[in-house]
């Protein structure tokens, strides 16, 4: 076995061991621990970057390493690094738990990395649970007035039920096909969808992935968890776990490619409800993180547009949008965690006078929000353009129309946030100091969001090559 094939996972396993040892230390040194964590996250970026072009199969073909999985592993490593860069003040997590915060963040990253490579039912289940359980622990780690454990228990119960339902569905798929390998199951899909047991199994099985992606019937957890978890944990849930879920859904759909008309129609309905519900409920939100939670429900609908086209162009668009979403959503969350330095939940009106308090952060906020809304020339606009053109070429006119209308609705509540930060002022709020590394991060994020929006070719080429390895 080539070690490089399993390199990223092994590296993060080693990092988890380091954090475990740090958490055992008697003396609490959060500053030193943070430096170690940041160094390990940078090393992880290098390792996943080096392993980008690996190809092969591991563990009796239950685990496939290809360009598709490696791109997403790099994206996950990037999200991990991003979250650590804004973890320099973990105000809402007690100092003696900082090492455990890093530990569980690492194990959930490992789980997601394994998830994007899994091509076998049991492997998918175990890696999904590895990533979920670590998040269940991270959410109530916050020092709060009860909302943290409330969010934690809601997240855990809804997550446990949806993964139980998913497992029950997987058992039917296993029964109907006699195999646990996706390569054996997915070619039999047309006849599976025709039989009641196969269709039931398939729909139940998708429950678990829809939960991660917070698509319509499984979206209830998102607002509570986004608000209740510490800002850094919410950032990770909002960026990395979305990318992992999109990757897995793509693999399930791409390997099959023969789900038939009825299945695509079911996804169209879920997509439309997710977009509309998310965008309409977001309008009335006052808490910024809750607003972003509803925006993430709406974005789950956009992801589905790319997936349900069942064509190469749609998959490329979905990969591009997943990567773009990771960066632009992180840009907004970085502003949140920098403005709310004491780790509190940020109300939209608390952004008042941000242009005066920190011009750079307000610029990042505007760039991030316009990207989420899909305003050119940002990365979000290019992503939406790719998604909508791929759906349009498959004849989903109404879906694209509803998607475009939803984009306009979303612009309204994003503009409300921008209005609060540029056109209202509150003299009692003092200026915000931004450290040099965060300054550099700000410039880098703005450059990525605008740069890859204007010149998307490199990413699209990469996504195209990745889709080729999956199909």
């Amino acid at each position: 076995m080539n070690v490089m094939l399993f390199g990223p996972e092994l590296y993060y396993l080693g990092a988890a061991l380091v954090f475990f040892l740090l958490s055992l230390k008697r003396r609490v040194e959060p500053k030193a621990d943070y430096q170690i964590a940041l160094a390990l996250a940078m090393g992880g970026l290098v390792v996943t970057g080096l392993c980008l072009c690996q190809q092969g199969e591991l563990f009796f073909k239950a685990y496939r390493v290809d360009l598709f999985s490696q791109i997403f592993k790099f994206a996950l490593a990037l999200a991990f690094f991003f979250v650590l860069t804004i973890s320099h003040n973990l105000a809402h997590i007690e100092e003696r738990y900082h090492a455990e915060f890093y530990l569980f963040l690492t194990t959930t990253t490992i789980g997601m990395m394994m998830l994007v490579s899994s091509v076998e039912l049991l492997t998918i289940y175990v890696s999904l649970e590895l990533s979920s359980y670590s998040l269940y622990i991270l959410v109530p780690l916050r020092r709060g007035d009860g909302i943290d454990v409330e969010a934690g228990i809601k997240y855990l119960l809804i997550g446990a039920v949806s993964s139980g339902v998913m497992l029950f569905g997987l058992s039917y798929l296993f029964g109907a096909t006699g195999s646990t390998y996706l390569v054996d199951i997915l070619p039999k899909l047309p006849q599976l969808v025709a039989s009641p047991i196969g269709l039931l199994g398939l729909l139940l099985a998708l429950a678990g992935f829809f939960f991660k992606l917070s698509v319509f019937p499984f979206h209830f957890w998102a607002p509570d968890v986004y608000q209740g978890a510490a800002n850094q944990v919410t950032t990770f849930i909002a960026t990395a776990s979305k990318a992992a879920a999109v990757a897995l859904l793509l693999r399930l759909v791409a390997l099959g490619a023969g789900y038939g008309y009825g299945f695509a129609q079911a996804l169209v309905i879920l997509s439309i409800i997710s977009m509309t519900l998310g965008n309409l409920v977001a309008i009335i939100q006052r808490d910024f993180k809750r607003l972003l939670a509803y925006s993430s429900i709406a974005h789950a609908g956009y992801f589905l547009i790319g997936i349900l086209t069942m064509k190469e162009a749609g998959y490329i668009a979905a990969i591009y949008y997943a990567l773009a979403y990771l960066v632009m959503n992180f840009t907004v969350f970085m502003v949140i965690s920098e403005v709310a330095k004491d780790g509190r939940d940020l109300k939209i009106q608390e952004l008042a006078g941000l242009w005066r308090r920190s011009p750079l952060l307000s610029l990042s906020l505007i760039v991030g929000l316009f990207a989420l809304a899909g305003v050119p020339p940002s990365i979000g606009f290019t992503g939406k353009l790719l998604l909508f053109t791929s759906a349009m070429s498959q004849g989903y006119f109404w879906l694209v129309l509803i998607g475009a209308v939803n984009g306009t609705i979303s612009l309204y509540y994003y503009l409300r946030v921008i209005y609060a930060s540029y056109f209202t002022d509150d003299p009692s709020l003092g200026p915000i100091t931004v450290s040099t590394p965060i300054r550099v991060l700000n410039y880098a994020l703005i450059a990525i969001v605008l740069g890859f929006g204007v010149f998307p070719d490199r990413i699209v080429e990469l996504a195209k090559a990745a889709v080729k390895t999956v199909l």
């Binding site: 039912l121 049991l122 289940y125 175990v126 649970e129 359980y133 269940y136 622990i137 109530p140 009860g146 909302i147 454990v149 409330e150 969010a151 934690g152 228990i153 809601k154 855990l156 119960l157 446990a160 039920v161 139980g164 339902v165 497992l167 029950f168 997987l170 058992s171 039917y172 296993f174 029964g175 006699g178 195999s179 646990t180 607002p223 509570d224 608000q227 209740g228 009335i284 939100q285 006052r286 808490d287 809750r290």
Partner: protein, 105 residues
């Protein structure tokens, strides 16, 4: 033919367990009861895997391996859930889900 030697018997049993579990999740208000209902759902899946393995699958060990994995994962899940339930009890002095209503909107 014996009823115990038929696939359908076990599928109906699993479906019944699954339905009871799902009902329990939706109807019960105690966190512990909800956790028990989730375990019922997982066990329903285990029974399905074992039954399909015994009667249909070409390879005789796959279903059993999966059932073993489900047991281990369910144990980990119960540990995490119970520890969070203890934390909930310390903060709210109750394990009734209806008392956890601070997050709204």
């Amino acid at each position: 033919m014996l009823v115990f030697n038929q696939l359908e018997t076990y599928l109906y049993l699993a479906l019944l367990l699954f339905a009871i579990g799902l009902y329990g999740v939706l109807a019960r208000r105690s966190l512990i009861a909800i956790l028990i209902s989730v375990e019922l759902i997982l066990n329903a899946a285990s029974i399905n895997f074992m039954a399909f393995n015994r009667f249909l699958a070409p390879h005789p060990a796959v279903g059993q391996v999966i059932a073993l994995f489900i047991m281990a994962v369910a144990a980990a899940e119960a540990a995490i859930a119970l520890s969070i339930i203890v934390a909930v009890y310390r903060k709210l002095k109750s394990i009734n889900i209806e008392h956890a209503t601070e997050l709204r909107g």
